[in-house]
Symmetry: C2
Subunit: 421 residues, 2 copies
């Protein structure tokens, strides 16, 4: 593959011959047209056509997975799945992240030749390495701001999702800071609302965080949800920064790529990427986009942390998918510019998942967010936080949790309470 091409990998399902179906994809997403018209020369096609690099047959399915596809007119249709790799010339797109996304996905999902089509992965042209800023803080910068090393950042989510006043939010954060949390985030539903105006929330929360830092030397990282229109994103970021805050959060899918790129250019704080809405892209195994693909767009745009769900979560995602997503976040895009980000584990997390999470990742470069797993600890939130740190210490030392719990009472209590659930 020459350096001036980039690739995209797909799962396809089709009743058409695989080679033909792959050529339809290549045509639709590059120099193709319904018929030869003015200006379309062989030379142009040679320079600009996407190429089918490989087709790997995966086997038949009994029925089409998605409605609306049109099988060939001749014979009884047989639906096959395959893994297809296409390559595209860099000059078709240039350094334009939204148009790159259109090129590797775009209209493909609607093509009538396919009863299933999912973008599994893609590569960036090398020019993107220098054209985009990528994560500003990433793993190291986040650790530096949070002053946490050699273990995951232990965090929690402000709950209830909505309804707390700025003052109540401040009181809750005070309790969480006292409990020893490294990280606290707004709910994705909490933005800038009449009952919790953003500026007031920042003021109340940062008063608490700054006082706590003055007293203890530890500044809790709070990810304020700045999601909103472009002006709000920048203004809200500045409010957090000026109040001494150390993180902002965006709902990536709802805010979108172009605004995220702009925010990154402006930002002086890590950007925490919340992926709500992701289920639309991922719930069907033959439609949408893998997280391996999705996370690359937003790393390139410049987020520093990316949600990946958690092991044994309350949502639909299987554990293997969670680990694959986290590994993707930790995999460099280029040797000299890794653009790696901190994966954020959450949903139903408590001390119990720490060993399996570490065994799968061999890394502590992550955020580990628990709600009930901290706040509902029998001995209170501080004991909840300690139980998580103990569980990660056990994981790092390779000690079984039960054994480690014999000398660590908070972990023992957690195992008794949550392990029985």
């Amino acid at each position: 593959m020459s350096a001036d091409r980039f690739t995209a990998t797909y799962l396809i399902e089709t009743a058409h011959p695989l080679e033909h179906a792959a050529q339809v994809m290549a045509g639709e997403q590059s120099a193709g047209t319904f018929m030869r018209v003015h200006g379309e020369t062989d030379e142009l096609r040679q320079s600009h056509m996407a190429r089918v690099e490989s087709i790997e047959r995966l086997g038949r399915v009994d029925e089409p997975s998605l409605p609306g596809s049109r099988p060939p007119k001749q014979g009884e249709p047989i639906y096959q799945r395959a893994k297809v790799i296409l390559s595209f010339p860099y000059i078709n797109v240039g350094t334009n992240l939204p148009v790159l996304m259109s090129t590797v996905s775009g209209n493909l999902f609607e093509l009538s030749q396919f009863s299933g089509l999912k973008l599994l992965d893609f590569t960036f042209p090398d020019a993107y390495r220098d054209a985009y800023l990528g994560p500003q803080f990433g793993i190291e910068g986040t650790r530096r701001l949070a002053d946490v090393y050699d273990r995951p950042l232990i965090g929690t989510i402000i709950k209830p999702s909505v309804g707390l006043s700025p003052q109540q939010t401040g009181e809750l954060v005070s309790l969480l800071a006292e409990a020893g949390l490294d990280f606290v985030k707004d709910d994705e539903l909490m933005g800038d609302s009449p009952h919790s105006p953003f500026a007031e929330r920042v003021k109340h929360v940062m008063d608490v965080v700054n006082r706590h830092a003055d007293k203890t030397g530890k500044k809790v990282m709070v990810a304020f949800n700045i999601s909103g229109d472009m002006d709000h994103l920048l203004h809200a970021h500045d409010l957090v920064y000026e109040a001494g805050g150390t993180c902002v959060m965006i709902n990536m899918i709802q805010v979108g790529l172009s605004a995220t790129i702009r925010l990154r250019q402006h930002a002086q704080l890590p950007i925490h990427g919340h992926r709500n809405g992701w289920g639309m892209f991922s719930r069907h195994d033959a439609l949408g986009m893998s997280y391996l693909a999705f996370q690359k767009f937003f790393r390139m745009a410049g987020v520093d942390h990316l949600h990946v769900n958690g092991l044994r979560n309350k949502f639909c995602e299987p554990d293997a998918s969670v680990i694959e997503a986290a590994q993707a976040c930790l995999t460099p895009l280029w040797p000299e510019k890794s653009f790696t980000v901190m994966p954020v584990f959450s949903s139903g997390q408590w001390a119990g998942q720490a060993p399996d999470t570490y065994a799968a990742l061999h890394s502590t470069d992550l955020m580990y967010l628990a709600g009930g797993g901290i706040l509902a600890h029998p001995d209170g939130p501080a004991a909840g936080v300690r139980s998580l740190r103990q569980a990660w210490q056990a994981a790092l030392e390779g000690a079984p949790l039960n054994e480690f719990a014999e000398k660590h009472s908070e972990l023992k209590q957690a195992l008794e309470k949550y392990g029985a659930l």
Copy 2:
């Protein structure tokens, strides 16, 4: 329903009791939390909880439509579909379009109680009517700029998708202007690339368009694809405006809501909304979002034209869905501020679909885009354009195409060529 609440309508599929499943949705997307924690009082729940307004049972399905759901632990699971309406308090969100999108969709798609969940529709709180600008030009403004009344704007797409140089693009647009087209658009894959730098493309194309306007009095509306990062969006818009252009285009899903809102604040031209990527949201009947819901977000953000596919298109979408989408674009959001936009019909269109399109819509407030249906006309592009205008004239007069074609040779030729396909 009080004015301080807004609603969202869903198709759900679940093996859980419907009332319970709907309550899970309401809790997840408002004041709910995994367990009662500090600050969560009955009063707070009363003020902030989403409410289940109605549940309409739709019947059983044999198997779960999506993987990953968890049925109740007791008994053999029975999967039912239902239509559920939730209402949310305005104060949970305020006027924040991205967070509103998170609220009515967001994490819902991943909830393990559901083997299917699709957002069918939602309403805006009245405060959005005044907080957001909505379409600046809409139908009337677009007609004024294009100087086309009482019939659809007849348009085409610059093809091949990529590969033409700025000069070649200009030559093609010259041919299209001579042919009498009202509207021409960039392909969604064409942005700002090394082989067609945006500024050069605008220069070459607008030279042609302006010369043609000077000569004939008719300025062809060209939708230049300005998709890119935020700065590029604004800068590229300005280039088009300064060159005398009358339209810009964005890839809505890839650019995103927040940047679209910002572009609208800045724009002096209509924004043409291309929906590529939409298949991810729509291909599965029990996952994602209907276009009825989707188009509201981007109308509110401020686009003026919205792609809706076309009757008997080359993609997967059934005709009924196309018409529903177009009707949605033409349906006012409020009596005093309609925020209506021009639906854009495309994909496999030629003269033949005009009567059915008009019969379904009872309106000519639309763009009607054809590629081969114009360029491959036996008598050339000008005859292709005339055949489309004749077909719409026939539709408006209620005359069958075959009959009308007796006195309109270009339509007759079109029927012979494309009708036989």
